[in-house]
């Protein structure tokens, strides 16, 4: 029988921070990271001295391409006065900082360090949309690029396969978008802060003010079905199915479990971590799930001893609307082919039985790719500590939350489970 994965000693999260994700033409990665770092410092209830950090792990995907600067470990180490102690960059495409989190956990669990800082950063706004598309596509495989696939294109293709197999349609994707946009205005760190209805009404008012003919939208789905208001990017992915281009940073302070109470009376504990790798579209087991996510989930569940029904809420990698539906099936929340029905029935809403992406998700919170993995964990931190404000999940006994992060076209997938004890 396969050995159950476990940490040699427990690891706790005692601080978390993120910058407000968005487009910042006049700021760079250092500015974003300092914002996240300062936010993290103020989150450590009993305070701490940054000089006590023994190692830094930083996720970054493609600043090499976007801003022609690689090697962010030492740059950020110097920025926060951490030199000459070690700084390591992790790269797993859009899952880069989920990997930094994982490396930090292992570093503490091994007994080598007691206190480490993990996080991620990405600066994407200095390039054109076409160039960003090209930069992100560096994480796909060569056969996909030769065929002309973009990231929205890959997820568009997965959507056509999913629709064909399970009978879903574009309207089911819209349910995901509408739900994410309903959560986003409740998150002050989100890049977008309007519901679809507010966006629709604002466009109507704008037309009226200009004296132009007003579009006859009355529902969110009518608005999202309008090819002018919601143009196609890569069929069936339309503008409102796609996450935006974003700048930002995130970080977390990890410590050995036995010293966690020196930092806070409300630490979170790493209950389960899992990571998988996947093949390109042509070689994948299936076009309707990600084998790497299923593997990561299996590892995380095995380590934690928990089951999908024990996880009360999750942040999943909704880089595109169809991805959210596939992920909630892959992490076992819903059966294959049932995810889209669960979304339609409201189960994934903030007040549903299984809230998904209460932060607004990548779609609305933003997706500075290297910062996203730890950015997702930041939402778990806020929710489990009861600090999520207007978007706090209305469950008085919130104890366990999870994240699922995806890199490339499913090449690197992770699942992380945090719990309050």
């Amino acid at each position: 029988m396969r050995k159950r994965h476990k940490l040699a000693r427990g690891v706790a999260v005692v601080g978390a921070g993120m910058s407000k994700f968005g487009i910042y033409k006049d700021r760079n990665s250092k500015d974003f990271f300092v914002e996240a770092f300062q936010d993290m410092r103020t989150s450590v209830d009993k305070g701490f001295d940054p000089k006590d950090i023994e190692a830094l792990y930083i996720g970054n995907f493609t600043n090499d391409f976007f801003v022609h600067q690689a090697h962010w470990g030492p740059i950020l180490s110097d920025l926060i006065g951490h030199t000459p102690k070690p700084a390591t960059r992790t790269e797993g495409a859009c899952a880069s900082s989920a990997l930094s989190f994982r490396e930090g956990v292992f570093a503490i669990a091994s007994g080598f360090y007691d206190i480490v800082l993990v996080g991620g950063v990405e600066d994407m706004s200095k390039r054109t949309t076409e160039e960003v598309t090209e930069g992100l596509a560096m994480a796909s495989i060569s056969y996909e690029r030769e065929a002309g696939f973009t990231f929205p294109g890959v997820f568009g293709a997965l959507a056509t396969a999913y629709f064909h197999q399970y009978g879903a349609n574009r309207e089911h994707l819209m349910n995901v978008t509408i739900k994410s946009h309903n959560n986003a205005p409740l998150n002050p760190r989100a890049q977008y802060n309007m519901t679809i209805r507010e966006i629709m009404n604002a466009k109507i008012e704008k037309c009226k003010a200009k004296g132009e003919s007003v579009s006859p939208w009355t529902t969110e789905k009518e608005f999202l079905s309008d090819p002018v208001a919601n143009p196609v990017v890569a069929w069936p992915m339309h503008l409102f199915d796609c996450c935006p281009i974003s700048d930002g940073a995130s970080c977390m302070l990890l410590v050995a479990e036995d010293i966690a109470r020196n930092f806070t009376d409300k630490p979170l504990y790493v209950a389960g971590i899992g990571q998988g790798s996947g093949r390109g579209l042509h070689a994948a087991d299936s076009l309707t799930y990600f084998e790497a996510t299923r593997y990561a989930a299996k590892e995380a569940y095995e380590m934690s001893g928990l089951k999908p029904e024990d996880i009360q809420f999750a942040e999943v990698h909704d880089c595109f609307s169809i991805a959210e539906i596939i992920h909630i099936e892959d992490i076992g929340f819903f059966k294959p082919g049932e995810g889209y029905k669960a979304v339609a029935e409201g189960h994934t809403r903030l007040d549903g039985s299984k809230p998904i992406n209460t932060s607004g998700g990548l779609k609305c919170k933003g997706h500075p790719v290297g910062a996203t993995g730890v950015g997702q964990l930041y939402e778990i931190w806020k929710q489990l500590r009861g600090e999520a404000g207007a978007r706090q999940i209305p469950n008085k006994n919130l104890r366990v939350g999870a994240t699922q992060n995806l890199g490339g076209t499913g090449g690197t997938c992770t699942m992380t489970i945090l719990e309050r004890r």
Binding site: T133, A147, T160, V232, A234, W235, L281, H282, A283, L287
Partner: protein, 138 residues
């Protein structure tokens, strides 16, 4: 029959010659398209080249309206979208390819399962000359 290495480079050379080729493990008979130099099923490098008929059906597709710069250079844009797809070959494996001969402006009419046949797109000039695998309705 062929002594070229089982590499991406050889696969591309064959495409340039308008041939679709895969590699088959001599031990377990598993077929790989594009070719692999190593059989991950039975862990060996005993491969042989196999010509692929180039007949298949559409498993998944997308019509891309916002392409990367290298596709824009070929003349594709929001008004001139292109289709990329995954094709399940008659021999079993799947391949990624461009889809030609179908209206990319009407993706809602495209059906999964559509029978397709391989075709070869020769693009670029001089050193940039390259052949791309594509499929079109039979």
């Amino acid at each position: 029959m062929e002594d070229r290495p089982f590499s991406d480079n050889s696969f591309q050379q064959f495409l340039n010659e308008e041939k679709l080729m895969g590699s088959r493990c001599k031990i377990c008979r598993e077929l790989f398209v594009p070719p692999r130099p190593f059989c991950p099923k039975c862990n060996n490098t005993k491969m042989e080249w196999v010509p692929i008929k180039g007949i298949g059906k559409l498993s998944a597709f997308t019509s891309i309206f916002v392409g990367p710069p290298y596709m824009v250079k070929e003349g594709y844009d929001r008004k001139h979208p292109y289709i990329a797809g995954v094709i399940e070959l008659e021999e079993g494996p799947k391949v990624d390819a461009r889809i030609e001969g179908i209206d990319a402006n009407k993706p809602e009419l495209i059906k999964i399962g559509t029978p397709l046949a391989a075709t070869y797109l020769h693009r670029g000039e001089g050193a940039e000359k390259k052949t791309y695998l594509a499929f079109k309705p039979e």
